[in-house]
Every structure is written in structure tokens, then in C-alpha cells.
Symmetry: C2
Subunit: 360 residues, 2 copies
Amino acid sequence: MSQNVQTDVAIIGAGPIGLSAIFACGHLGMRCHVVEALSDVGGQCTALYPEKPIYDIPGFPSITAADLIARLVAQGRPFAPHFHLGRQAVKLTRAGDVLSLELSDGSTITARAVIIAAGGGAFGPNRPPLADIERLEGTSVHYWVKDAAVFSGKRIVIAGGGDSAVDWAIALAQHARSVTLVHRRDRFRCAPASLQKLDALRLSGRIALKVPYQLAAFQAETGKLEAIQISHLDGQREWLEADHLLAFFGIVSNLGPLRDFDIDLSGEQILVDPLTMETSERAVFAVGDVAQYSGKQPLIVTGFAEAVTAARAAYDRVFPGRPFHFQHSTDRGAPQLNVEACKVDTAPITAARTAASIET
Amino acid sequence: MSQNVQTDVAIIGAGPIGLSAIFACGHLGMRCHVVEALSDVGGQCTALYPEKPIYDIPGFPSITAADLIARLVAQGRPFAPHFHLGRQAVKLTRAGDVLSLELSDGSTITARAVIIAAGGGAFGPNRPPLADIERLEGTSVHYWVKDAAVFSGKRIVIAGGGDSAVDWAIALAQHARSVTLVHRRDRFRCAPASLQKLDALRLSGRIALKVPYQLAAFQAETGKLEAIQISHLDGQREWLEADHLLAFFGIVSNLGPLRDFDIDLSGEQILVDPLTMETSERAVFAVGDVAQYSGKQPLIVTGFAEAVTAARAAYDRVFPGRPFHFQHSTDRGAPQLNVEACKVDTAPITAARTAASIET
């Protein structure tokens, strides 16, 4: 699916603010391509709290995050945005006034402006604090379950104390050779019904509980996991033979590859001029939670206005020298439905696709 | 209805941005009193284009101005705002950190912060360019019709070329002694059906048309109107005996008394610091179309975010020294419906009440 496409504005992030930027750009006559690391649009609204009501979007006394996203998608649709889902923007280069955004699938988007609406950044798993653990990821160390069948007949160590850890311990106990659940506290944060099932499986010997224990080390001299060392809070250590480790330590978000974009940062945020939302890099804008300036409030409505500001400033980069004629939407009339349908590319396999199933 | 009330924040203007400021303040624990020159909430949305669809409010692919206003009112209701309708804010004074806002009905609102969301300013009639005409206003010179019965059996001169002028000429022709319609052009801007009625009444002698004529002078030696002088575009003048003049020259908006608030202006707008929306006067904020700063875009969504910014900055003025704990509405939960109902005071007679019926 690798491709090279050209557009007016490349938007990074399809959360609520990135989606609103599609309309803001479209209203000013600019076409957009949108890159999203997750496998669906909506950002945190979709991945973390789709059913949670939001009360502070003006005009909506109460709206669920999922409904807000659906409405923003519909609002942008007339401008036929092209979505690249399940891909990360990994590199930004410039040739004169043309910006090139390289995606994780090898595609390139060239544009006259880039609007970064990356929210808290790309989502990923919280890794266990075990040096060199990365080399086992996807083979014998896992942060989500893609296919439960691979654990059949195996010795499984599951680490974590929330719903994901408990529910997978219960589910895998049926077919695994052994399941050991390790948690650094002696209490689990999960549904009461799950706790009852867990206790029953512990009594019947199908699940071994190790609490309060932490992961301390691993042994994998053959290139695949052989054993996990755990340490009790009192310092006592023991080894557990294991074919697979499943660690459910929640998700974390960070700027990821955006860190290397050569734009001024403040921690995990991007510094912008609040009057234009332009970053330290010409024609590169940041809006929403990822953008930082004095007095910034991380609210959706603030991000909406920032997207409008960025679109206005992007106009001068996309159409240099073209006069800007301000027009209210009431005077301009309904957005024209573009004949070209809204395009969505999804990556065949993405880490992002399953991130939402990770414990939060 | 004159009264002295105390609150946290006094909001001037109940248009979409003023209404959104009620929620923004309420969310941070601040109570509001709202002053509105018109007899209804909604500002231009209600007075000028209630049925017009708006396309650029994020989350609403299309919404009529009236519907947006209804939703904003509902969203602010849990915070029990107190509305003072049909009154202008005429004077702002300060005693230390306490601001006093004097209203046109003699009431006073004392508050720790004032948020001016006056849009294009207060609406009022475009007056005819006749020196000293003000002294006859409300007795024999009118810019809207409060009670058609007062024109019964009288000689009426109506000036204007739009729907209001034509429709009132038709309506009053039935009971007035005479109706003369004066317009500076020879074409009327009105519904075709009205034009047909007007022509029929002209042919039957119930309405005299004077086009293209302008108002030139008036005679009122007894203290009430006696005659109106009109001038043809070729310079020819004539006097019309008249008991009443109805002038429908549209509405105009301006800062009005806000001009005297001792805050820095730029034309008909108020200069603010875009990071706080504070004006040159401490604890006095301006948001929405009335606020001006570099790069300002006069969009409703921009005003929404400005209201949030102003509310956050007002918090520090209303609760000096109190720490601010940021909280998303999703975490805070549904706004508590205040036991005290939302209060609305309407002035008994207001210019504002009829402004919407004036030709635009």
C-alpha cells in the first residue's frame, strides 16, 4: 500500500481536533490527508472513553465521545479527506516550501502545510522494566492478545492487576499448561465476578497467584523465553519456568517519532505561537493537547478554535500571495459534497488496532 | 425593578458567546448575572438570522442559529444564571477589586469580574439624518411600532424601502387618516405579494407614494410633529402635513455606552490580551466579535474558546489566591442542577424588544 500522494495539508492525528481541522481547512478550500496511528478515527475519544459523556462542548449539554466523533467525521466528509489509518508519521523533511511526511508503511505525503493534532501522542504499551525485553516482543512477550490459540499447552506468566490481566488469566487457564498471575499489589482492580472466577481457578489449581510480586528478570538464552524471575516485596526472589509473558501494564502515550521532527518542544508537547499555532518550523502547525503555549487549556473546545486558527494561517502557506476573503459559513452556504468519496486506508496489521484492548 | 445584586461574574451580552461563558464560568464554580440589551437571548442569532443554518460549529454539520441558542441556554441552565433582559450596561466603576456595573434601569450588579460578550455592540435604529429629531422620539417619531392603535385617524409619513416600511404602510392604511410612503429609491425591497398590495392601495388612493424622495426637515413648533419636508433627488422640495413619522432605516450596532468604560478600544472593538482575554482594565474581559487581537477570526467557535480562556483568567480574579485544579468535564461529571431556578428579568418596555422587527 506504499504510495506517494500530494495534498494541500497533511494532518497528523484523527482525534476530535484533527477531525475538526479537516472542516476548518476544507472551508478555506484546502484538501487534507490525515495520518492516524490507531486503526480507527477518534483518538482518545474512541480508544479510551467512547461511552463517557462530555459536558463542556458548547451546544451539547451532554454528548458521548463516540457521538462527537461521528458528528465530526460527518462534518468533514464533504471535503473528502483521505485517511491513512494504522500508520505513524515517522519523518518530516522539507524541500523549499514543500513538506514531505514519511509514514511507517513507507508512503509519503507531500503538502504545503502540516497540522499536528497528535493529542497526547501515539499510544503504546507500558513495557515491563526489564532490560532488553524488546527482543522477545511479539514472539514470547506480549502486551495484548492477537490469537489466544498460540498459548495452548504453554506455560504462561501474566503480569498486571487490572481487568485485562485477570480476564486473560481466566480465559487462558482453560487451555494453557500453566498460568501464573503476578501482581505487585495483593488486590486486583477488576469486576467482582472476575475476582470470584479467579479465586475458584486458584482453589482448583488452574491458576497460581504470586502477590505481591514484581517482575525482576528473565532468561532467554535460546532466543525465546525460558523463565521469569519475580521478586517479593520483602526481597525474596524465585524463578518461574515460562514460555510466554503477557504484561498488562496499561497504555502510555508519547510523541514518538514526532520527537525527531526538528521542532521546538516542551516536554511531550510542541511549542507554538498561539496567534497562528505555527511551530518553530515554518508551515508546520500544532493544535489540541499536543500544542503548548502560555495559558493553554487542554480542552476540546480550545482545540477546535486552535484548528481554525491553524487553518487560517496554513492558507497563507498553501496559497502564497492569494488574498484571503473571510466568509461566514452562513453566507457561504452548505459545504459542497465532493464527488470523490472520503478515502480510508487501513494498514493490514497494526499495533494500533489492538491498543484499545489494552488495560487502561 | 431597580435592584442591587452581587455575583461572581457579570456578563454583558447574551449572544452565543455570552451564553457559552455562563457554562465556562459555572464549570469553574462561578455564578453569573447576564445583561442583554435585547428583549431575548441569542444576540444576532436570534435577532437577525434565527432560521439560517450554520455549518462551522464543530460537531454540528448544520444547525440553525435558533437551535444553537436553545442548546447553549440549556447547557448553562444548571448554573442558574440570572438574566437581565432589555437593559443596557451603561457604566462601569471600580472600588478596589469590586466592579460595579450600572444598568439602564438603575440596577447595579457588583462582581469580581466582568466579561463583555457584546458582539457587534448593542443594536439600535438607524436614525433619519434630521437634526434634533431625538426630542420627538417615542411621541411622534417612531422606529418601530409598539401599538398600532395610536396611528388611527392620524396623518402618517413612513420612510424606508424594505419590508418593514411597506408592510406597515399597508397595515396602517386601513385606519390612518392618510399614509405617505417616502423612499429615496424608486424600487422597494420587499415580498412581491406586499408590492402588489401596496400598488392596489396606491391606486385606490389609500397610500401616497413619494419616490425618489428623502426626508429633508421637519416642523414641530408646538412640541409635536406638524409636517415633514421631503426633497426629490432633482432638488425640488415639498412639505407633507404629518402627525407621526415612522422611519424604517434598518438597525445599526455599536459599542454604545461601552465606549465610556475606560478600556482600550480599536474602532468599535475592545483590545484584549489573547492569552487571557483581559482588557486594559484588570478583571474586565472581552470575548467574541467585540474582542480584538492580532489574527482574530470572528467565528463562533473562536468565541467559545475565548470564553473558556476568559473564565479561567476570571477565576483568579474571583477567587484570588485559591489554587486552580484543572478538571475535564468527563471526570467532573454532570453539572449539578442548581436548586435555584434560572432567573430572567425583562424590562417592561424596551427598545430592544422590537428591534428584531426593524428592517435590516
